[in-house]
Structures are given as C-alpha cells and as structure tokens.
Assembly symmetry: C2
Homo-oligomer: 283 residues x 2
Amino acid sequence: MSLLDRIAICHRHDLTRYLPFKVGADRIGFMRPDLAGELKRFPSVFRVAADAVSIAEHLDTFDYRSAAIDSVMRELRQEGFVRGWRDELFTVAAHYGAEPLFDLERAGVPLFGVKAYGVHLNGFVRRDGEIWLWVGRRAANRPIEPGKLDHLVAGGLPSGVKPFDNLIKEAAEEASIPKELARRARPCGALSYRMELDGCLRDDTLFVYDLELPADFTPRNHDGEIADFRLLPLGEIERLLAETSDFKFNVGLVIIDFLIRHGYLSPERPDYSALALALSRRP
Amino acid sequence: MSLLDRIAICHRHDLTRYLPFKVGADRIGFMRPDLAGELKRFPSVFRVAADAVSIAEHLDTFDYRSAAIDSVMRELRQEGFVRGWRDELFTVAAHYGAEPLFDLERAGVPLFGVKAYGVHLNGFVRRDGEIWLWVGRRAANRPIEPGKLDHLVAGGLPSGVKPFDNLIKEAAEEASIPKELARRARPCGALSYRMELDGCLRDDTLFVYDLELPADFTPRNHDGEIADFRLLPLGEIERLLAETSDFKFNVGLVIIDFLIRHGYLSPERPDYSALALALSRRP
C-alpha cells in the first residue's frame, strides 16, 4: 500500500447507498436506509419519503428539533437499534459556522451521516534537527479501531465547545499535557473526508494542530482511551503508513499532511502533487 | 470581498468553452476553439475533430511531438496568433510525475490549457513573536498582472528543472537570496487551481515553500521582474487580501494557505473550515 492508497481509503464511499437527510431545502446528512425504515414509526418527528428523509417542518427551532430527535434516539436505543451510546452531544449544522440545527447523541452521528468535527494534535519533538512524532496506541476496548496507532491527542468536538478549548481539555485527559504547554499548540489547517465505515457514512472534518514538545516531556494517559505512547522518527512513521495498517484510518490523513507541511516529503517525489492535492475533498 | 472570494477567483472557469486536447486516450489540456481552428491547417501534427483535438498518432515519441508542435508554434507566432513568446520550454504530461509527452513554448501553455507548475516562496521574518511577510511589487512591464503584489520569489517550472533547483535559481535572480540561505527553504505543500484568464484556461499547480529570513536580510531584484519589495505584518497582508485586489490572483491562494498553516487564522473563525478546504481542487 502507498501513502496515496492510505489517503484514498478515507475518501471511499458510495452515496447511492444512503438517503439524503434534510432540514428544509438543505441536505445535512446521508442516512442508512435501515434507519429511515425505523424512523417511519415517528411521523411527528421525521418525514420519510422514498428519496429523502426530512425533519418535520413544525419542529422549527433548535430546541424543538433537539428534544424530539433525542426522544426518538432513546427509544431506538432501548430497542437495541442504536448501540454504543456515548452520552455526548454533537451539534448538527449544514456546514461549519452555519446556524446550529439541533444536538444529536454522538452514537447517532454515523447513522444519520451528518457532519462531525474533531481536533487532532501532532505532538512532536526535535532531536538533532530531525522531527520525532509522539504516537499513542488505542486501548483494546475502544469501539472504533481498538489497538490502532493514534495521535498523541485527538477527539470529537462536542456541542458548545470551541475547537481550541476542546484540544486543551483532551490534551490534559489523554496525555497529561499541562494547560500552559498545550496552549502553545498552533492550528495548521483542516482536513475533511467522506468514508464508509461499518455500513455508515462518516462525513468528518478534522482541525489539525501542531505542538512542539520539550525533549523531556513524557505523556501519560488519564482517561483509559490510550494504552501506551511511543516516540517515533518520521522515517518509521512513513514506513508504518506505507507498509502496515497499524494507524487508525484518519490519523494517516493528518500525518501525511504533517509530513508535507514540515518538508519531510518534497516535490521531487513523483507522487507529491497527487498526495498534497488528495488530502482534502472540497467542502 | 472576503478571503473565500479571493480563493473562489482562482477556481472560476467554464470547461464547456474549451475543447479537450488529447494525446491518445488521455486528456492533457483544454484548448481555445480559435486555436483549434488554426490547427486545422496542420493535419500532419493535429487531428481537429468537432469535440476534441488530438496530436497525430504517428508522432509517437517525446522528440517527434516536441519538434512538430514547435514548428507549428513558430508559424503561428510569425502570423501574430501566438503572442508574448518567452523562449522558455515547459514540459507537458498528463499529470505531475507522469511520462513527459512533449515540450511546449511557454506562450502556448495557456492557449492549449495544459497543466503548468510553479514554485512560490513565502519569505518571512519573526519580530517579537509576530510573522512579517516579504512582498514584491511586479514590474510595470510584466505581461501578466503588472504592478500587482507578488511573493518574494515565484516562477514557472521550466522543462528539465527540478522544483527546488528552480527555487534556488529564482531566489538569486528575483531577490538576491544567497544559495546557502535559499537552501534552508522548506517545501510545505502544493496548491492547484483552474481559472480562466484572458480567454484561456490556466490549469496550474504551485509548489509552496517557506523560508524564515534573518531580520537584517534585504531583498534586491536582479532580473527586472520586481519593482520593489516591502515587509508587511500578517494583519496588513490579510487586510490587503480581503479588501483590495492588490495581490496577483494566485499569490492570494498561497498566502491564505500560509496564514492557515502558521496559525494566524484559527478554527474559531466561522469560515475556517471552508477556507482550509477550498484552497485546492482535487487532482
């Protein structure tokens, strides 16, 4: 597998397998047909047509929509249709920065195929002019990609939390990075992908941060989500990405962007232009 | 005008105004119909059909194609159809890193709508933790965008020259940056756009480099392409991009990428995700 293949994995999907999920005229998600089937039982909340699912028009405020959808989600949870309840709300909107439409329990995000956002931190150290990257290994009990390699810090963006505040909070929980140190992290861009995972469409945008760490810093995990950490030189990182599937899928995307931004990859490489341009789909 | 509008300008085009230009089965350009009309007079070099223009199949090597097309280009120049002859060859290929198909005089690149490549250097200085960017003003006699603001160093990629070698050469000619200093420049990515300019389709990919310069460095132009240089703080750069059309079109694209990569813009901005994702079209 090549670095290009690694990126392509994050963009692999077939939209014809999903139903457009709409609020008014705006498509805000790609819904699994089996979820659409379940939602027919809740006509006061969802209008299920053959070619699209919409939220009932009388639910015309953020609070009305959030409460009605939450009630449906809890019933579907009780019936065993919705699994992996997180007790964490994500805000749904047509696009980033647009008017929030409703809050949705995180477990529902992939089922509805709505846009979700996350923060990923490249925590790195310079040794003799070379860059080494801190990498975590996901705990064996994580619902998605257990045991895979991950960023030093990464997390979904819950409702009402700003990206940088979320990064600071996750940095403390996941890697014991003190607030004063975490605040030096610098936003470096956004990457987005649409991919199918476990029969759902994930439509994710990741906000990318870089943080240069002191040579003597050692991360320790607090929340049980990371089993252990290791510090790897970029050459080994590139090898793992190109030759193994050890990294969590979207972490590869963010690290290839890191390798490009820091000049580890260069335009003399024949696939450079393809790599740099493949990283993001258009909004 | 917003930063998003500034990016959108670089992606504005209507492909239906052009004819696909092909070598074998590969589309390699978007040709102006008036050029296709002229090329009908050269049936041993170009096959002009109603829906596409191809290079004659008997021209089956790089050298055959280059020589035959050069001869046509020189005749069209003599007749006044091809203007702004540069005496500089660009290599044409289906995509970056692919087998070179032929060399083409630079003045023909926009007429054939083939892919072209360039290098752009963000030359910057840190003052009290703030980043200032060196900006040049294009000479009044430049064929494209005279008098507009430009990068410290930027140039098209001629045939047979590697991107980094081209950067070093242009850095000396355009800004008197000594080789030892220029070699510290770091590749940071590639940006690509398709836009219509003067009735031609430009299908360009820019290789982006950053170079932190010493505080006492002062650029001087050698080749007459830049009228003068100025050092501006990022706040002023952002204002010029958002409120004026002082910058050359594609320089805006590269500088917005710089503002994002260096954390001058951050995800708390509602249009951040749109900006970061709009920068490049897919390859």
